[in-house]
Structures are given as C-alpha cells and as structure tokens.
C-alpha cells in the first residue's frame, strides 16, 4: 500500500475530520457534484451544531437541517432547485423545528468573494454587489466602506475559512491530487480557503494519470486531508462524464419532505437504514442507475505536454 495514501472510508473520513461544531462547506459546484454521500454520513453519525456554508446547496442542506445537524447556515440560497422550497429549511428558520438555526444570507458573488479572500489570505475583498440590499444590512460579514483609491463606496466581504470543505470530484489519486471538470462554481477557492479538504472521488486513478494533465489538477493533494472513493456519491446531483441528474428524485424528496412524518420516513429509508453508499445505490436499483448513466461519451482532445 502506498505510504502517502490518504484513502479512507466515508465513515472514517467524517469521523476523523468533521467534529461537532465544524463549519462545513458543501455544494461548491452548485447543481453538480453535490457531496450527498458525505452529508448522509454526517447525518448517520449524528453530528450536531454544524455551520453549513455554500452558494446554492440544493436539498443536501435541507436534509442536514431536517436531521437536526445544523445550527447555522451561511449561504446564498437554500431550497430545492427543481421545486423551489426546502421544507426542512423553512420549518427550522420559521419555527425552530427540529432545532433553531441562524441564517447568514449571502449572494452567490459575495459568498464566492468570501472564499476567494480566504484563499488569497486577505481579510476581505471589495465589491459593488449587495449595495442597497438588506443582505448588506443584515449580514455582519458584509461591511460598507469608502474606497481608498476612488470616490466610491464599496462592500468589504469578510474572508471565510471553513473548517472543512467536502468536494465531490471526478477523479483523484490516493494522495488527493484531483482532476475536476465541468461545473466548477467555487470549488477551487473552497479548497484553498478551507483548513481541511475531504475529496470524494468517483474514481481513484494512478498518480501519473493526474500528473499527465496538470491544468486539470484543480486541487493539489497537499491541501487534502482525506480521499474517499465513493462511486455514485453525488446522486441525485450529476457528475459530468459519469451520470446525469436524477430529476425525479428531487421531485420525490419535495413531496416527501412537506410533512415532518413523511420526512422522517424518507430519512430512515434513504439514510439511516442505508449504512453506506453501496446499500443506497442498491436501493436505487440497476434500472434507475442505468438510466442515469452516460449515453454518449464526449472525450476531450488530448493536449500535448511534450517538449
């Protein structure tokens, strides 16, 4: 076994690197590559008092909130991208069910800038975005200031350094050097801003595959604390080149999360009674996963790194 290997099971990675009270960044690539398997393991391990950070989280935030894992959300949008409302988020924000959550509202751009500031190692970055909005009034991490170099007012977006960023990716080597393509969102800055990174990969490949294309190595292994091999780990969100989006699953979740009892049933069926991702994938069934698979490959042309 490779002595530098950071390969862990999902259970080990979450147990070792995401303690209660952590600020966890999820959903960096927006609607693609959402680390559902990691989120589900957080729920199974009963993690509490998490701060969730991310731009558009889709239903993973909603599930974690509904399962009682969350005390604070720092995000631009929380809901169900297919259907609009996230019912668990609403119950928690409006009525403290199952527990109260604090919401710190960002826009997508300001959340991206907060991570970029963290990645650059500066305390803030300036922008015109959110001027005049109530996001600026209510989010203490957005502060208006007079530009020192022009006659303008701008917003200082305070740097965000999550305790851990969990990123689902296409492929990585065992040391965490990662190839990622398609929908990038804020993934690159998230990996640099976070104090720890857990990479969840569809495929683990030899190091020379990664090093053959260093431009595509968007996360260098030295930033990575753990690598988890978890095929289908982003379902129901899509992974370019691996599987498509399971639209029906989002719709079913919407229907089943409307009431608390139905949500509890959903949680039991898909998370608590599925001890690992393999069980979950079996539960989905071959017909469903087969239908989501790549129908027509579209490989990029090779680039010549020779000299």
């Amino acid at each position: 076994m490779n002595g530098d290997s950071k390969l862990l099971t999902m259970r080990e990675a979450i147990a070792q690197h995401v303690p209660a009270g952590s600020m966890v960044l999820l959903g960096a690539q927006l609607e693609q590559m959402i680390p559902f398997a990691a989120g589900h393991e957080l729920i199974r391990q009963g993690r509490r008092d998490l701060t969730l950070a991310g731009p558009i989280s889709d239903i993973l935030f909603d599930q974690l909130i509904g399962a009682g894992c969350v005390s604070r959300v720092m995000a631009a949008w929380v809901g169900n991208v297919s259907a609009g409302v996230g019912y668990c988020f609403r119950r928690a924000a409006e009525r403290g069910i199952p527990r109260r959550i604090e919401t710190v509202d960002y826009s997508n751009f300001t959340l991206a800038l907060a991570l970029h500031a963290g990645a650059l190692g500066v305390p803030f970055l300036p922008t015109y975005a959110t001027l005049g909005s109530d996001l600026l009034k209510k989010n203490g991490n957005l502060r208006e200031f007079a530009s020192p170099v022009s006659e303008e007012r701008l917003v200082a977006v305070r740097a965000l350094r999550p305790d851990v960023a969990i990123l689902h990716v296409q492929r990585a080597d065992v040391r965490g050097n990662t190839h990622l393509w398609g929908s990038l969102g804020v993934a690159v800055d998230a990996a640099r801003a976070a104090r720890k990174v857990i990479v969840v990969a569809e495929e683990i490949v030899e190091a020379d595959i990664i090093s053959s294309d260093p431009n595509r190595t968007l996360i260098p292994g030295f930033l990575v604390s753990a690598v988890v091999h978890e095929p289908w780990g982003a379902h129901p969100s899509p992974v370019q080149g691996y599987y498509g989006r399971d639209h029906a699953f989002f719709g079913q979740y919407h229907d089943q999360s409307r009431g608390i009892e139905d949500f509890e049933e959903w949680l039991t069926q898909w998370i608590l009674h599925a001890p690992d991702r393999r069980t979950y994938v079996n539960q989905l069934g071959a017909a469903r996963t087969g239908g989501l698979g790549v129908k027509e490959h579209a490989f990029t042309a090779p680039a010549d790194f020779g000299y």
Binding site: L30, A76, G79, V81, S82, S107, N108, A129, R153, G185
Partner: protein, 273 residues
C-alpha cells in the same frame, strides 16, 4: 437563478384546454416570447433557469443569434444545449460550452458592466422594482424563502434586469418587506446614492397579465397588457395604484416562429403549460 421559482416564482394560472386552443398559446409562452424580445443580438445575458432559459434560446434562434449566455456556475455558452435543461448544472449545458470557468469569472464580467441583461424571478416585487426572495408572508405568517442565489448580484450589476412573475396583489406589493435584490429603492436617484453602477436597474417586469416598465423617477408603470386582459384586471391585482402608460399597448402575442422554437426545445411543455 432568480430566487424561489417554483413555489414563489412564475406560477401561471391554469387555463382550460379550450381557452388555450382558441388562443393558440399559453400565458407562459406569451411571457417567454416577451422576455425573449428583451434580448438584443450580440448581448451578454445572465440567463437563469425555467422561463428565462427558454426565452434566451428563443431569442438566439430568432432575432438574436449572437447573444451569449452566462451561468452562475461559471459556464458561458454561445450555442444552445442539445437538450432541455432543468438546472444550469445539467450535463448538456456543459458539453459544448464556450467555457467552463469558475463562478468568479462570470461574476467578474457582470461587475465590469459587460452583462447587458439578467433575468430574475421573485416572490415579491414592489412599486420601485425591488425584489424579495428572503422573507415573505402568507396569511400574515412570516415565510422563509430560499434567498438571493445570484439575484442580488444581477440586480445590482447587470445593465438591465427583467423580472418574471405571476401577477397578484400579494406578489406585486407597494413596498417589499425585505430587499433581497435592489431595484430603484425608494425612487429617483436612490441607486446612485447607494453606490450602485449608473447604468443598471430593472427594465421590465413581465407578469401573467402584462408588462411593467419604469419611469425616470424609478416607479413602475403599466406599459402593455396581454391579449384578453383588461387594464382594470391588472390594476385590481396590483398592490399599489399602478400608473398606466399614455400609450398603453397590447403585448404582442408569440409569433409562429417563436412558438415553434419553444415547442421544439420543450416538446412536453414542461415549463410553459
């Protein structure tokens, strides 16, 4: 993406099959056509999803073949995707893209003032075009909505914004309780006083009943009514005393060409029923 679509965005009144058959199009299709006409050829468009996505594709395949689409996940497209999209992250939207960059790449273009038009949905829009997608209220109870997404950024920084929503008194209110995405604030000069770019702000609000535009004082007025809709109906469904243009027109119905493009892209009318 423009906030809380679905439950809080464009929900179009249902129409009887006979009504639709007689007219030849649905109100959603009319809204898509009206939205498409807000895009000029060669413009940079912050696209969003649902009806605006269809509008962008209709514009590209009719009068604006060189319009360029930007998506918040970092994707920039100059050619339409081969399949209907449900989210901007759907694999067909990435294949064949001009560029798959980072969110900051497209947000940077937006902040530079290069984005001509951005589309937004909203739970509530007010007299001055301010949008709320954070805290709404229904039956006097506070209702937590999903939040800004990129809507606040687009509302602050795009040269023009176009809002699409269903027309009722609850949604078109005098003043929103929470400004998620700023329009003209409290009126004339407000955007400038807040430090927002000079060339920016709402251009149109396209509803299920008509199209609102904005005067120099930043207040909305009714610019056109959809075919079969009366001015009285629009006023009765608006939460403030809406001004009416001297030269009020009827919204142009979707052309055969626009309808055929829409129905080709969305053959089951997933977005426009």
């Amino acid at each position: 993406m423009g906030g809380a679509e679905g439950e809080h965005g464009v929900i179009v009144k249902s129409h009887s099959e006979a009504e639709v058959a007689a007219r030849g199009y649905t109100f959603s299709e009319l809204m898509v056509a009206a939205a498409a006409r807000e895009i000029s050829d060669g413009e940079f468009v912050f696209v969003g999803m649902r009806l605006p996505m269809l509008a962008f594709l209709v514009a590209r395949r009719t009068h604006a073949p060189r319009a360029i689409g930007l998506f918040e996940n970092g994707v920039i497209r100059e050619t339409p995707s081969r399949e209907l999209l449900y989210t901007m992250g759907d694999p067909p939207n990435l294949r064949g893209a001009t560029q798959c960059g980072q969110m900051l790449d497209v947000m940077g273009l937006l902040q530079q003032g290069r984005v001509d038009v951005g589309f937004l949905g909203a739970a509530e829009v007010d007299r001055f075009g301010n949008l709320n997608t954070t805290w709404g209220h229904r039956n006097k109870e506070m209702q937590r909505l999903p939040g800004s997404g990129g809507a606040c950024d687009i509302a602050c920084l795009a040269r023009r914004t176009v809002v699409l929503l269903s027309h009722d008194r609850g949604r078109l209110c005098d003043r929103v309780g929470h400004i998620t995405s700023p329009g003209y604030g409290s009126g004339n000069g407000w955007r400038r006083s807040q430090g927002l770019p000079i060339a920016s702000g709402p251009a149109a609000v396209i509803t299920t009943l008509g199209v609102l535009r904005f005067g120099h004082d930043g207040e909305a007025f009714l610019a056109s009514v959809h075919p079969g809709v009366s001015v009285e109906e629009v006023l009765a469904n608006t939460g403030w005393t809406l001004r009416v243009a001297d030269e009020l027109i009827e919204t142009l119905p979707p052309s055969d060409e626009e309808l055929s493009v829409m129905r080709k892209i969305d053959p089951n009318r997933f977005w426009t029923r």
